[in-house]
Symmetry: C2
Subunit: 366 residues, 2 copies
């Protein structure tokens, strides 16, 4: 029986398997099928947990993120509570635009607000070039602290936003339902857009490499708004920059997962991305993508899938959650390495009983 | 030269083809390839047009919708301005929940608000059964008036929301980003959900048949939130009710288009829906669905496609819009009847020059 120990508290769930969480996660990331799928959840650290809300009571989101000790504590909370196989560092994708000179605020009820928004090539030219070790020092220290706390028992993940998603916030100034400012910029000023995406690809690559150097076992590239573009426009405006980032991380020996949210129509792009693995949205058909990956036998295709339960399924009665986990596991059927996860981030008001049922169901697969 | 005449004004574009807009649209809806694709735009009547905003200056959205003369005028505005081949009646999908007893308001900046929200089987049981001729009398009169004004020169379309989308508003109480209330209801109370969808399918079917009887040449079933469910959940919770509605309309001799927004992962469901035609979201790959439809040679598959330009493409420079229209037309390549349209509704702030470029580009295909 492997007992995980953290500086802060005892884990609620203890593993009886011979493999610890980090070993299980790293094996899966190398394409190996292990005793059971490793499990973690996108956006596992955050508002869903009462212990996170307690920490946030006196602090802003940015204060939590910028304090390495607190960010590390928040990163560990879900691992401790649920006994997950991976921790993902508590941070935000918008640190890159902020390091490029934009002002970043998180406004309750509204979400992130970035400004001044980009309107033309001159605005793009005026962006600063981030220096990872300086601009993200708090994050790199949080990673190092968390790595030490995890003591090799649990994998540690870093992440960054993909250029399209970052550009969306930089051009829209925040969240949007229509993406008309972003698309007006892409379609109307393609040269300025290319210059912006160039800069973002460099900055994101720097950030991911710095996270790996600081102790992350693997990184994930999140393209939250991938689903807003048609496949043709995605290939034209966004995917080449993802591929560049991925190639750079892999050439440096790093492991990188790609998440194209709402990207059921982008399956070809995902398969040919060069990523180590693919995090799947719940609309991506798991059986189809496994079949399609099997056709790519040259070793260049992703060799692990992650996901893809609808995060809202955790609002269902526990027995249904277990049934969904079992069904997903049966669909994968050992044909490819699989990391159990959701198809998008945890909803903030997810019942803890739903999360527990999900994690327990995965552990029962072992 | 066919000159269209309206009671209210002269059309801005005159057709030199031998076929008028209605003839062109009806031929396409029967699966015939005609001189050029007919063209109209989802959400063509509304805030994009200055003449609509002038009418709205002193009136609420609901006042416009409930006054047959004004609703008809607003329906005709885009046809008159752009010379479109089809008019779609000015109305809203939420008239069905309103007729079932929920209070409906449109709040500026927020969108529709419906209440009281449904929470359980008792709430579903308490819903009223709408009587189309009584509850939608204003709409049916608006259709009859519009039909007369169009004088057989332009096709007239009716529409309704699909059960899933209507249920979403009835359970969430309005717009949502997460759909967790809806999904908690579906996953947690499947029997109550089935009862609700049963009632909605009946009410939607009644509404569509009433619109056809009042003069609509065809109807469209809009599932705005289809993309929120995985393919498996969509088949379990939503698609059977769409099929029931479609079968009822077709058995009555009506023509019905199905629009599954953001439904790239629902291509199989769309193909096997029984619909006369499919309105395609911009993420649905046109070439793939044409190939897939060609495999269904038993006559049961949809025989016309509609769409699917990204509505945000109308923010691009005019020459790019023309290029996108030409490319889409080349992709279809006469393999199936095609109605040129957007992949979702017009964005309210779309530049009129973009709309003009789109419509002109379609007309140049003739």
């Amino acid at each position: 029986m492997t007992e995980r120990t953290f500086g802060l508290a005892q884990p609620r769930y203890l593993e009886s398997a011979s493999m610890n969480g980090r070993e299980r996660m790293l094996a899966a990331l190398k394409g190996k099928t292990v005793d059971r799928p490793p499990v973690w959840m996108m956006r596992q650290a955050g508002r869903t947990l009462p212990e996170y809300r307690a920490i946030r009571a006196g602090r802003s989101f940015l204060e939590v993120m910028h304090d390495p000790a607190i960010a590390s504590e928040v990163t560990l909370q879900p691992v401790r509570r649920f006994g997950l196989d991976a921790a993902i560092i508590f941070c935000d994708i918008l640190i890159v635009p902020a390091a490029m000179g934009l002002n970043l605020e998180f406004i309750k009820g509204t979400g992130p607000v970035l400004g001044p928004v980009l309107r033309d090539a001159a605005d793009v030219a005026a962006l600063k070039t981030p220096v990872a070790e300086r601009d993200y020092a708090y994050l790199l220290e949080a990673l190092a602290r968390t790595k030490e706390e995890l003591a090799g028992q649990t994998a540690l993940l870093g992440f960054a936003g993909a250029p399209l998603t970052l550009a969306s916030y930089m051009i829209e100034g925040g969240s949007t339902r229509t993406f008309t400012e972003l698309k007006s910029f892409l379609f109307g000023q393609p040269e300025a857009a290319a210059e912006l995406f160039d800069k973002l690809a460099d900055a994101v690559g720097d950030l991911l490499l710095a996270q790996l150097a600081a102790g992350a076992d693997a990184v994930q590239l999140f393209d939250t708004w991938a689903g807003e573009l048609s496949a043709e426009d995605y290939e034209r405006f966004a995917m080449p920059y993802n591929r560049r980032i991925i190639a750079r991380v892999r050439q440096a020996g790093g492991t990188i997962m790609l998440f194209l949210r709402n990207g059921a129509h982008l399956m070809d792009a995902a398969i040919e991305s060069g990523a180590s693995g693919l995090a799947l949205d719940w609309r991506m058909d798991v059986d189809t993508i496994i079949q399609r990956l099997a056709e790519h036998q040259d070793g260049s295709a992703p060799n692990v899938l992650q996901g893809n339960l609808d995060p809202a399924a955790l609002f269902a009665p526990p027995e249904q959650i277990r049934e969904r986990v079992r069904r997903l596991h049966a669909t994968v059927d050992g044909r490819i390495a699989h990391i159990m996860n959701l198809g998008h981030g945890l909803h903030p008001n997810t019942p803890l009983t739903g999360i527990e049922a999900f994690v327990e169901a995965v552990k029962e697969l072992g």
